[in-house]
Amino acid sequence: MLDVEFYGVLQQLAGTRTLQIEVHDDAPTVEQVLERLRGDVPALSDHLPRVACAQGEHLVRRGDRVDPARPLVLLPPVSGGSHPLPAEAC
């Protein structure tokens, strides 16, 4: 089993902060986990292309192997600072 954590709008869309998903491979790639999520939580699928993933302090790439002992963290587009629109805005 692999813990998946959601942040920002993904929490709202998934209706939960964390989800356990079954993984058959010992160390699936990030892409494989996202593919699995696409099936389990269809509400997320439109958002996945803009989602970055992390384990611990660091981002992981789509082709990286996931360490199943640690949560895979899903990070939607970020919006720190103040209001971001128009592009120049803070």
Partner: protein, 154 residues
Amino acid sequence: MQRITEHPLDINTLLADTENDTCGAYVVFGGIVRNHHQGRGVAGMRYTAYGPMAERVLEELEQETCERFGVAECRIVHRIGELGIGEASVLVAVRSAHRGDAFQAGQYAIDTLKERLPVWKEDFYTDGSSGYQGGTPLATSDAAGDSGREGSHE
């Protein structure tokens, strides 16, 4: 001061933390919760962060800003939790020997923060509704580097 904090941000603490007698200039940038967004009245907002990564991103951005612009001091703090109108969500302080460097470095730090810091904001509108704001995809997403930001999700 923690870089990611639930406490109100204090510009005096930030200036005290960066004091440096060799510097002739400082620039402080503050991002403030506004009372409007895309034509709608805003009553307040909530910021959330992915903590383990956010602290590291800010620490690295401070170092990178100092090296890139040759400035002596850079310190960045970002608030999380619920904020009211007029409160600061982020403060960036830069100190340098010369003022041009301080302005450039300060702008670089806040511009880059908005591309890298795993923080999300949720607006609470005066009409009672709320919504997560769109933002900038992080570097490892498939959409990283796309010119357009996504719209708001409500």
